[in-house]
Each structure stands twice: as C-alpha cells, then as structure tokens.
C-alpha cells in the first residue's frame, strides 16, 4: 500500500515555547482527503493532535489549514490533488491556539468592522423579498456563497504584510453584498468604512483570495466594484450631491 508522508506543524502552548514540525507516515486509502489523514494520525498515532472540523463536506468552513503552502479546507482536499508529500500548517495571519487550530478572532473582528448584518430602512416594515431571478439579485449571485472559512484572509498577502490591519477579502465581499441590497440602510456607513485607510485601497489585486476560495468566489472582483463605489461616494461628497 502506498504511504503518505506528512509533516504537521505542532504547537501546544502548555508545553512548547515555539512550534515545530513533526513527521508522520500514513497508509493511503481510496478517496482519502487531508482531513482523513489528520483523523488517522490522531486516532492511531497521536491523540493529542488538534485540528478543527465539523461538517466534513465543505459546507461549514471549519477545517481550514495550509496544505503545501496553500490555504485549503482539509475535508475538500483530496490526496489525489494534494499528493502524498504533505506539509500541513495552520492558516496564516491567525495565531495557532494548538497545532492546526487557530484563533480566528482577527478574521471575525475585521468582518464585524463592516457591519456584516442587514440594517432595514424601516424596521417595522415586512421584509421585501428580492426574487432569485431579479437583476438586483444577479449582481451579488456570484459572491453570496461565502462560508467564512477564512481561507481568503489566510491567503491574502496584504493581510499578512499589514499584520491584519487590512479588512481582508471576506469582510469586503460581505460589505459588497449588503451595499448592493436596496433594502439596506447602512450602505453609506459601510462605504465610509471600506473606503478608509485599511479598506479597499489596500488591496494589491494579487488574486490570492480568488485562488483559494472553496466556493469559487472572486473577492478581487467585488473589491474592484467597491472601489468604484468608494470613488463615486467621494465625488458625490466633493460636489455636495448627498452622502
């Protein structure tokens, strides 16, 4: 049987002063994923190995890790695709809590910063439905599927180089979806946030976010759209044409 050779980044804050790489070998099985490899190591070789997972089918976005330098969902990355020489590390730009489990607070803090929830114009009015086939819905169709796995945040070179000050692709993508919603009342506020120093203008269009998104969203595209909106807002302000 073919073997998978695996290096995993280990770090236990109660024991280790700093992280280290540990080597493991696992027998390959048909249709194996990186998550299966982690479970096999945890079950048969080292019970202390820590990692996150929940749905195992690429829906929940919990099992984000770095496989051979690239942020991926462990459950959706097959060994056929990743190869039998694996380097598995925690996601970048977020500190490891233990082994492959990272503290996702920076990711969700930037998400929180853009007011990630719907703010109705009239809180007492019944919700107005936007039909799935409508033009308005079509604008955000491609960017709706985000599962907040944090892979885009981990893959983004600007998030890494600004040490998390940049809002990041997922937060900006969410802001775009809400700004495009005609029923939402916080668009202007959000445009001010995303147009700030750590917003859309920080993006260097490296497409890392689009490359790693497991839902094939292209946040680089939505960020470009937001830039246009941000310029429009500034021009309107400049000429006194509203917010």
């Amino acid at each position: 049987m073919e073997e998978i050779s695996c290096r995993i980044y280990r770090y236990d804050p109660e024991i280790d002063k700093k992280g280290y790489w540990a080597s493991y070998r696992v027998t390959r099985q048909p249709q194996m994923t990186v998550l299966d490899v982690l479970f096999k190591i945890q079950g048969e070789q080292d019970l202390s190995l820590a990692f996150r997972c929940a749905c195992r089918v690429g829906m929940c976005g919990t099992c984000g890790v770095t496989v051979n330098g690239r942020p991926r969902l462990a459950c959706s990355t097959s060994i056929d695709e990743a190869g039998t020489e694996l380097d598995i590390a925690p996601m970048r730009s977020m500190l490891p809590i233990k082994d492959l489990a990272v503290d996702m607070a920076p990711f969700f803090e930037s998400y929180q910063a853009i007011i990630p929830y719907f703010v109705p114009r009239d809180p007492d009015a019944p919700p107005a439905a936007i039909p799935p086939g409508s033009e308005e819905r079509g604008i955000i169709d491609e960017s709706l599927e985000c599962i907040t796995c944090g892979l885009c945040y981990a893959g983004c070179g600007v998030v890494a180089s600004t040490k998390g000050r940049y809002l990041g692709p997922a937060a900006l993508n969410r802001a775009y979806n809400l700004i495009q919603d005609s029923r939402d009342a916080a668009g202007s506020e959000r445009l001010a946030i995303i147009g700030s120093e750590d917003g859309v203008w920080r993006c260097h269009v490296q497409f890392a976010c689009a490359d790693v998104c497991p839902k094939h969203i292209n946040p680089a595209h939505t960020i470009q759209q937001l830039r246009r909106k941000s310029v429009g807002r500034r021009l309107r302000k400049l000429f006194g044409l509203g917010k």
């Binding site: 790489w21 540990a22 496989v67 690239r70 590390a89 890494a160 246009r228």
Partner: protein, 123 residues
C-alpha cells in the same frame, strides 16, 4: 484491519515562516511580485547605466549590458503595468491568469525584437 502505527518522534523545527507559504502562491501573486521586482531592478539598472556612461567614457561591455538589461526589464514591466491598469478597470478579473501569460509573451517578444534591433545597430 488497522494500519500498523508508525510512531515518529516529533522533530523540533522552526515555526511556520512566510517562506512556508510561498509554494502555495498563485499566478496573481507571482504577477504582483514580478512587477515589483522588475520595477526595483529597473531602477538599479538605470542608475548603473547612468554611472557606466559617466565613469567609462568609451563604449564597452558595461554600457551594452545595462542597455540590454534595461530593454528586457522595460518591455516586461510596461506590459505588466498594462495588466495592472486593466485589472484596476475591472477588465479580465476572471481571465487574469491568461492575461499574465499574455503579458509575459508580449514582454518577451518585444524584448526579443528590441534586442535584435539593438544588436544590428550596435554590433
């Protein structure tokens, strides 16, 4: 039947550095890095070119080398800049990989033609 556990003692090593993530970079990231580095190199080559003219009055290998390096770098950097302009305008957001390879091909072609012309003019 469960696999025979192969217990390997952990090998202490360094924490993940940025270098560990480089192999996962996609085309867009390489395009970004290449443009920055070609820009920086171009700046250095222009200085070298200038000083080679000032310090070495006679026509020689130093001038020719800096001329040629400048031709190659300008050709690549200019087309890569065009890609950035397109992307900033929202053009080719889905085809950026193909655009990058197009930029490389156009840069190489232009540099090749310019080098040929240069070689004929200054053999």
């Amino acid at each position: 039947m469960p696999d025979e556990p192969v217990v390997a003692p952990p090998t202490p090593a360094r924490a993940p550095l940025r270098l560990n993530y480089v192999r996962g970079y996609g085309v867009g990231m390489w395009a970004f890095l290449l443009q920055r580095f070609s820009g920086l190199l171009l700046m250095l080559v222009i200085f070298a070119h200038f000083w080679s003219r000032v310090l070495v009055p006679s026509w020689g290998l130093a001038q020719k080398a800096t001329d040629m390096a400048m031709i190659v770098l300008v050709a690549y950097h200019a087309f890569a800049g065009l890609r950035v302009v397109l992307v900033d305008l929202g053009v080719g957001m889905r085809t950026q990989r193909a655009i990058f390879w197009g930029v490389v091909a156009l840069g190489l072609l232009t540099a090749g033609a310019a080098l040929l012309a240069y070689q004929q003019r200054f053999p």
